[in-house]
């Protein structure tokens, strides 16, 4: 007799896939349970991503935010007029009109506005800014109405504030700082954090809120390389007890706590849910092994090895996970149409953001789902492979 034939391949993928299809109802029920977990996991990741995108994309790289030393946010900070003047005289700043430094002195106040859904009040950021400040944020474009006039009680609102819980509109009058302010325009900053703010004239805001100090000063650097020179100049000034940060990094840092909180909470829930889903997959796969005992015995008799059997059952469980993953992901994709309005725990202000599904999240979620399936399939697969051929063939 000839020597044993070399093993070239195992059971076909068609065999694996059709066994899942053959048990339609069980497969659908198990996959649905797993898909639900995938949906929750994907949604949480999309939420954290959306938040990071919104706040992380706020501002410009060449702008530098200056706040009082030790204050984490603009709301907590105060800078005197003298300090602002001193900053204006430092080297490294870009020029605005007539050789003036490109600088904007801003006031940030949190005001309570009624929520349209009747859910009480929402903390909204009101930013007193300047015409230069608007020039320094070219991404914020007026999309309806016009810009506020300096020296007036006019404000413009970020596009996110016209939707959802707050729902402001041009022509509305909003009361804060002992005055009524008229909304004359809507600006859109491309979905970043500015879209959740109300902007008006900085000096008018100072008067209305009885402030004699700014919240922050934002300067435009001459070029990308000027940051270090500017930072050194700030450090050399004993009167300037301030923290400086590039504008992009400043706002990105403000999203970290909330994004991490959402991610950690979501992942904890997902892990707990996924244990249930893995047990579900395991029960399904054990049932599959039990129903196919004689089939497994036959395959072994025909010459398939234990490894071939393990591989087939694990592939089946992985496919179950993959199908569930795709279903959960498709459902989660619809969540991109949802806009969430919530309070940023770091700044105590309302932030509106969309859920974002990135390719990285899709891959991560699919891998997670396949992993759940495989984990559920390992023990049943090993059990299938350990069956004695003769015993397995005798089963009904």
């Amino acid at each position: 007799m000839a020597t044993p034939l070399p093993i070239k391949r195992g059971l076909s993928f068609a065999y694996v896939a059709r066994n899942l299809i053959a048990r339609k109802l069980t497969t659908i029920l198990t996959a649905s349970g797993m898909a639900l977990v995938v949906f929750v996991f994907a949604t949480v990741l999309m939420m954290a991503e959306g938040l990071r995108h919104t706040l992380g994309g706020t501002g410009s790289y060449n702008n530098v935010v200056i706040i009082r030393q030790g204050s984490q946010t603009e709301v907590q900070s105060s800078l005197t007029r003298e300090q602002a003047n001193l900053i204006e005289s430092l080297p490294g700043l870009a020029s605005a009109d007539r050789g003036q430094a490109r600088i904007t002195r801003e006031v940030l106040v949190l005001v309570n506005l009624p929520r349209r859904d009747g859910g009480g009040l929402a903390n909204v950021v009101v930013r007193g800014t300047t015409p230069t400040g608007m020039l320094m944020r070219p991404q914020a474009k007026i999309v309806a109405g016009r810009a506020f006039r300096p020296g007036s009680s006019e404000i413009i609102v970020g596009s996110a504030m016209t939707r959802g819980k707050i729902g402001l509109a041009i022509g509305d009058r909003v009361g804060f700082g002992l005055r009524d302010w008229t909304i004359v325009g809507v600006f859109d900053a491309g979905g970043n954090g500015f879209d959740s703010e109300l902007w008006g004239d900085s000096e008018q805001m100072m008067q209305a809120f009885r402030r004699n100090a700014y919240s922050s000063v934002v300067v435009g650097l001459r070029d990308a390389g000027s940051y270090d020179a500017f930072a050194r100049a700030v450090a050399a000034q004993p009167l300037l007890k301030v923290d400086i940060k590039r504008e992009l990094a400043f706002y990105a840092d403000q999203s970290e706590k909330l994004a991490n909180f959402i991610a950690v909470l979501g992942q904890t829930i997902t892990i707990i849910f996924s244990i249930g889903a893995i047990i579900g997959a395991m029960i399904t796969m054990y049932a599959s092994v039990a129903n196919r005992t004689r089939e497994i015995g036959t395959l072994r008799a025909l010459g398939f090895r234990r490894g071939n059997i393990v591989s087939a059952f694990i592939q089946e469980a992985a496919l179950l996970g993959f199908v569930a993953g795709v279903a959960g992901l498709v459902a989660a994709a619809f969540m991109q149409f949802v806009e969430i309005s919530t309070t940023n725990v770091q700044t105590f202000s309302e932030v509106v953001f969309r859920l974002i599904l990135t390719p990285a999240i899709a891959v991560q979620v699919l891998l997670f789902s396949v992993f759940m399936g495989v984990l559920g399939g390992v023990l049943p697969a090993l059990r299938a492979s350990r069956l004695e051929i003769v015993d397995a063939l005798r089963s009904i």
């Binding site: 007799m1 065999y15 066994n19 395959l299 008799a301 025909l302």
Partner: protein
């Protein structure tokens, strides 16, 4: 003819709890290449156990079992699986086809363990299905075939790797008389035209009468060797 299967003092004892249950008690048997042997005996006589040992899906407790000069009892598990894939064709009482695979794919299964390419596999499968008269049914699933047709698919699967030895466990036990006759005719052809060595377990004397040789077992020992140069 030279002996293909050489069995010396073969014993098999199962354990039921702590209780040893002897099933085969020192069997000596030689089966020549090209022979067609029917193993007969009452239930519990050990005939299926002997067939399982010859097929390499069970291991003896003692004694020697050489098939084609290979001591299959000594082969490690994976080598034994490879040996079965290459040298043994199985025919079961209840056909044991994979319900999710069609006739073509069921017959192709053993070829997935060989190095044959897709086109070669197709050619082999088509030839085997044509031989059992089911060339037209290759796309049908087991539940779309009658019992007799399913058993013919199983025979095509047993043939597909061109094994030396075919083992059949009650191959007609679940079939009506006509289908049983078709299956037995096929086994005759495999033996006479293709020279396959067939070892078959059966209860049915009419079925056994088709074999060249009858081997009777009772309570784990061979009774006699009745040469049945049938038909």
């Amino acid at each position: 003819m030279s002996a293909l299967i050489s069995i010396r003092a073969l014993s098999k004892t199962y354990r039921r709890g702590n209780q040893p249950v002897p099933v085969l008690l020192g069997i000596d048997l030689e089966i020549d290449a090209g022979d067609y042997v029917a193993l007969m005996g009452p239930s519990g006589s050990g005939k299926s156990t002997l067939l399982n040992l010859i097929a390499g899906i069970d291991k003896p407790s003692s004694g020697s079992l050489l098939i084609g000069g290979v001591d299959i009892a000594a082969l490690p598990e994976n080598d034994l699986a490879g040996w079965r894939a290459a040298h043994v064709g199985f025919i079961f009482q209840f056909y044991n086809l994979m319900p999710v695979l069609n006739a073509f794919e069921n017959v192709e299964l053993p070829l997935l363990l060989t190095g044959l390419g897709k086109a070669e596999r197709r050619e082999h499968v088509e030839t085997a299905l044509a031989m059992v008269g089911l060339a037209e049914r290759m796309d049908h699933y087991p539940n779309e075939l009658s019992g007799g047709q399913q058993q013919r698919v199983a025979i095509a699967r047993a043939l597909i790797t061109d094994p030396t030895l075919i083992v059949a466990d009650e191959p007609t036990g679940d079939l009506d008389r006509q289908s049983a006759d078709d299956v037995l005719k096929l086994l005759d052809r495999l033996n006479r035209e293709l020279g396959k060595t067939i070892v078959m377990v059966t209860h049915d004397p009419k079925c056994a009468a088709r074999a060249r040789r009858l081997v009777h077992l009772e309570k784990g020992v061979l009774l006699d060797h009745a040469d049945a140069e049938a038909h």
